[in-house]
């Protein structure tokens, strides 16, 4: 695995990486970036740079994740002395710290109350609004979390992060149409995010009742995700699953009649194309699994669990055919 660094940590941090990151705390904490010299000299001799604080922030998250609360506390104090008590970001970090330390729902409830107080003073603090949703989520109050998120999005409808979160919550409750709507909003903000395309495809795929329309939407979104990133494991995986579900639907005779009455205005899929796509996904998945196993350069960046899942899918497929 590539060496994780604190300045640009990977987007999803595995437990082992988080541990490796938080173990970098002692050297960073022992050297203070703020010079102790008096004012004009301190300007000249400080080693402070924007990167310093990014590193501090990421270290803070890693420390909290690995239970190194003492380091986290130290970093938080340091950040607070540098940026002040009222900085929006500092307030959010402090909230995260308190959330992480809360041991039972009662303490979490207290954190929630403090968020409410902050929001009463400054209703534009969107990071705290998001933290509030997170607390509601960990308290298990999903319906409240949804309400809070809709209020947030009503006021800030261009927040892709919040839309994705809301989509997640809806999907958990099985409200597929709403979840799809949320993910479509995410796509409107970030039209080229292949992960968002894959997510929306997954939602279409999971939609109950699943019809040819939802499945073909799902297939097309997976296709777009692959088009944007032609080594996207999740895209191929999903493509294979969807095509396998579509093929019987398309080949049965009544589906054709059904499709015409459907309110879908997109051109129907051709059975041939879908079959070819299935082959394509299979061969691509097999290639990824093979290259990953041989540890070839340029192919090792995949998540191990995902590769195992892909191999399992291929194996299952092989047995059925035989």
């Amino acid at each position: 695995m590539a060496q994780a660094n604190l300045l640009t940590p990977p987007s999803t941090i595995s437990p082992s990486t988080a541990l490796a990151l938080s173990q970098k705390a002692p050297p960073i904490l022992s050297s203070t970036p703020i010079s102790s010299l008096p004012w004009p000299l301190s300007l000249l001799f400080s080693r402070e740079s924007p990167e310093t604080w990014t590193i501090h922030e990421n270290l803070f998250f890693a420390a909290l994740r690995t239970g190194d609360d003492k380091s986290a506390r130290q970093i938080l104090t340091r950040l607070t002395t540098r940026f002040g008590d009222t900085n929006e970001r500092i307030i959010a970090l402090r909230g995260i710290y308190e959330e992480a330390l809360a041991k039972n729902p009662g303490e979490l409830e207290k954190v929630f109350q403090s968020y409410e107080k902050i929001l009463k003073e400054d209703p534009t603090n969107f990071s705290i609004r998001k933290r509030r949703v997170a607390v509601l989520k960990s308290l298990g109050r999903t319906a409240d979390a949804v309400t809070a998120l809709t209020v947030l999005l009503e006021n800030s409808p261009t927040d892709a992060e919040a839309w994705a979160e809301l989509g997640d919550l809806y999907a958990q409750q099985g409200a597929w149409a709403q979840a799809v709507y949320c993910l479509e909003e995410v796509l409107l903000v970030t039209p080229n995010a292949w992960s968002a395309h894959a997510q929306i495809a997954t939602l279409h795929y999971l939609t109950v009742p699943s019809t040819l329309t939802t499945l073909s939407h799902s297939l097309r979104h997976f296709g777009r995700a692959i088009e944007l990133n032609d080594s996207y494991l999740r895209g191929f995986y999903g493509l294979k699953l969807v095509t396998k579900k579509i093929i019987p639907l398309l080949s049965s005779p009544e589906s054709k009649r059904n499709h015409n009455t459907d309110d879908d205005d997109s051109p129907p899929l051709k059975l041939e194309t879908v079959k070819k796509l299935e082959e394509l996904a299979t061969s691509k998945l097999a290639e990824i699994v093979r290259q990953y196993a041989s540890g070839k350069k340029g192919w090792t960046g995949y998540d191990e669990a995902e590769v195992i899942a892909a191999r399992e899918l291929l194996d299952r497929d092989g047995k059925v055919e035989r």
């Binding site: 039209p191 080229n192 088009e227 944007l228």
Partner: protein, 109 residues
Amino acid sequence: MNEERELAINPIVQTSVQHNTQVVSNIRNLTASLFGVAAGTLGLESYPGFIFYLVGTLIVSSLVFALRADGKPAEYFHRPLGDLWGGDVFSGLSSFVLTWTLFYGLVRA
């Protein structure tokens, strides 16, 4: 319209483009200054000096083409012709003139 659709299908990531232009313009400015030093020291005057600059930038362009873009400029530039060979030729001119004048003034007369 067709080109627009093509762009939507295969989007161009703005930050990568910016990074590439940044790298190229850094190379250009640095080499242009060095060409200015060389031209000034050689004592080139008027047209030979500008021709020297043009030849130099063309060499740099082909070096960028061969070494940085691996001979496939279409992968690194949106419009290979304009971005690599054409437009950027004159971006280094001002720094070329600066160092050229300086060294000419120092070495000659």
